[in-house]
């Protein structure tokens, strides 16, 4: 039982620390990606409109 308890304690600590780092990175990077997604979609639609008008 001691082995399992030690293992689960280590898993919990490592998991929480990794997730805290990941959360900060994803929150910042995700905000930039949203801006990029809107720009990319707008560009796709402009190209589509130009193609149709030609």
């Amino acid at each position: 039982m001691t082995f399992w308890l030690g293992l689960w304690e280590a898993v919990l600590i490592i998991g929480v620390v990794l997730f805290a780092v990941l959360a900060v990175v994803v929150i910042i990077g995700g905000a930039f990606d949203i801006r990029s997604l809107f720009r990319s979609l707008a560009a796709q639609h402009r190209q589509q409109d130009e193609g149709e008008s030609e």
Binding site: W4, G15, F19, G30, Q44
Partner: protein, 507 residues
């Protein structure tokens, strides 16, 4: 007053918490609706124009997979299984990481340029396999999410202390209507934006709430409570008094399914900008897959400590003889949360969880309606199904599934842990899909007949449902029913392919 109402009546939910919840939810809906202006075609609607980059892909993948329902069923597993439940998190993380490193299944799917898994079936086999695969996938997925609304209602009841069933039903109906509104109008673009917001609130909320819970209950106290109430099986996942070896093997299968075969996760791979992004999303998501189980398990153990110290709840949730009602153990975590967290923090976390509830619904509604439109109707109607008609059908399916969820949530008696219900209803699809996808991608001789047989084998998983077992007068463990169905589907796929190979492949 029945047991559920007795449990719910203990909540500390205050007016400030209600205000936070309302402002947050309506704000999310407005932002989701804003995304409507970017929808021009079906690819924008279903896979956000295939323009998802790594961080947003990660946020939306974790956001979808870390919903209220996930937190509820995992907390229930922590409550009933103790620390041994952590093995589910470790297995899920290791397998997701392995999928990211190897690109197993997901990279070939992204390379094939498909939007759904059944679309791959048509490319690899025939149109008929696609239609059958699409039907089974949608059926399994819709029944699978049939308990989501009930889980959400139990959460609201446990956290807010609202015991009036009429008011509870009204709140759940309003939530589902809000989801329907922005999913129908905004499609995948709304989904990724609202998933991102949810990721921000929920990831911070989970970490803060866990720190408060650890401080309140104490690690040693948690260990001692698990020793007292769960014994060796509360720590060692292979111990037969707890999960047992069969269950661990079933979780290995589930880890692969959740990351690489379940359509909602695969949709993110299909929406990624490139195969490189797919791999990166999966590698990083392994941390999300670990934590989405680990923190709720931890909360479930906190709930065990809380209940063990409360004579009235102990009589209901930890009875001396027999098993407690699974609906009651589902409420243990929200009950402990509402008694532990301070006002404000409780409101933010509840708002995050309800947003997560809506986010899971929007992803799943979009997913199953897309499958029904793209993989069942489109192959059957062909050219007659215009882009405009596809959008109309997808939106109609979303509405119809929403109505089904309301009815099924009220009618179906759960009778087993929510996680086990979800695994077995999902297994109707994924047991066959596993065999068809793996053989279809990696084995040249895989044939159409083998694929049909494997997909149909999935219905064997229904035998794992408790109400059906009660009807048949049998008692079979969920994990063995699931593993047997996987084996049957794989054998059928291989034997069927060897006996009746596809003619064009032979030529």
């Amino acid at each position: 007053m029945d047991a559920l109402q007795k449990i719910a009546a203990e909540s500390n939910f205050s007016t400030i918490d209600w205000v936070i919840v309302c402002v947050y939810l309506f704000g999310s809906v407005l932002i989701g609706l804003y995304a409507r202006r970017y929808i021009a075609n079906m690819a924008d609607y279903v896979v956000a124009g295939r323009a998802l980059k790594t961080y947003l892909g990660l946020a939306t993948m974790i956001g979808t997979e870390m919903g209220l329902v996930t937190v509820m069923y995992n907390a229930q597993k922590g409550f009933t299984g103790g620390f041994a439940a952590f093995h589910i998190a470790v297995v899920a993380a290791v397998i997701t990481l392995a999928v990211g490193l190897t690109g197993f299944i997901v990279v070939p799917l992204r390379r094939a340029g498909v939007m759904t898994i059944p679309e791959f079936y048509e490319k690899r086999f025939t149109r008929g396999v696609r239609v059958l695969g699409g039907l089974i996938l949608a059926l399994s997925g819709i029944i699978n999410m049939g308990m989501f609304l009930k889980a959400g209602a139990l959460f609201v009841m446990g956290v807010t202390g609202m015991t009036d069933p009429t008011r509870l039903n009204i709140i759940m109906t309003v939530l589902i209507l809000l989801v329907l509104l922005y999913t129908i109008l905004g499609g995948m673009i709304s989904v990724v934006i609202t998933d991102y917001i949810q990721f921000v609130v929920l990831s911070l909320g989970l970490l803060v709430a866990s720190a408060i819970a650890l401080n309140k209950f104490g690690w040693d106290n948690m260990v001692n409570t698990v020793v007292t109430h769960r014994g060796e099986g509360g720590f060692n996942p292979f111990h037969e008094s707890g999960f047992g070896t069969g269950y661990v093997l079933w979780m290995v299968m589930l880890g692969l399914v959740v990351s690489a075969i379940w359509q909602t996760a695969v949709m993110r791979a299909c929406a990624a900008e490139s195969t490189k992004v797919v791999r990166r999303i999966y590698m990083w998501s392994s941390v999300g897959f670990l934590i989405r189980c680990l923190i709720p398990f931890f909360w479930g153990i906190c709930a065990l400590v809380y209940v063990a110290g409360h004579a009235e709840f102990k009589a209901i949730l930890l009875p001396d003889t027999g098993q407690p009602d699974p609906q009651h153990t589902l409420m243990a975590m929200p009950l402990a949360m509402s008694a532990t967290l301070p006002a404000g923090v409780l409101g933010i976390l509840t708002a995050g969880m309800l947003a997560a509830f809506m986010s899971t619904h929007d992803s799943y509604l979009l997913c199953w309606s897309s499958v029904l439109t793209q993989d069942v109707l489109a192959p059957l109607l062909g050219e007659r199904l215009t882009t405009r008609m596809r959008l109309i059908f997808a939106r109609t399916f979303i509405f119809a599934i929403g109505v089904f969820l309301l009815l099924w949530g009220l009618w179906y008696p759960l009778g087993q842990d929510l996680w086990d219900y979800l695994t077995i209803t999902g297994a109707i699809y994924f047991t066959g899909a596993f065999a068809v996808l793996v053989c279809g991608i990696y084995w040249k001789r895989a044939s159409t007949l083998g694929a049909y047989g494997a997909l149909l084998c999935g219905f064997g998983a229904l035998l794992g449902l408790k109400p059906l077992q009660d009807l048949l007068g049998v008692e079979w463990a969920t994990e063995w029913v699931g593993l047997s169905t996987v084996a049957a589907a794989t054998v059928t796929m291989v034997v069927g392919s060897l006996l009746v190979p596809d003619r064009k492949k032979e030529a």
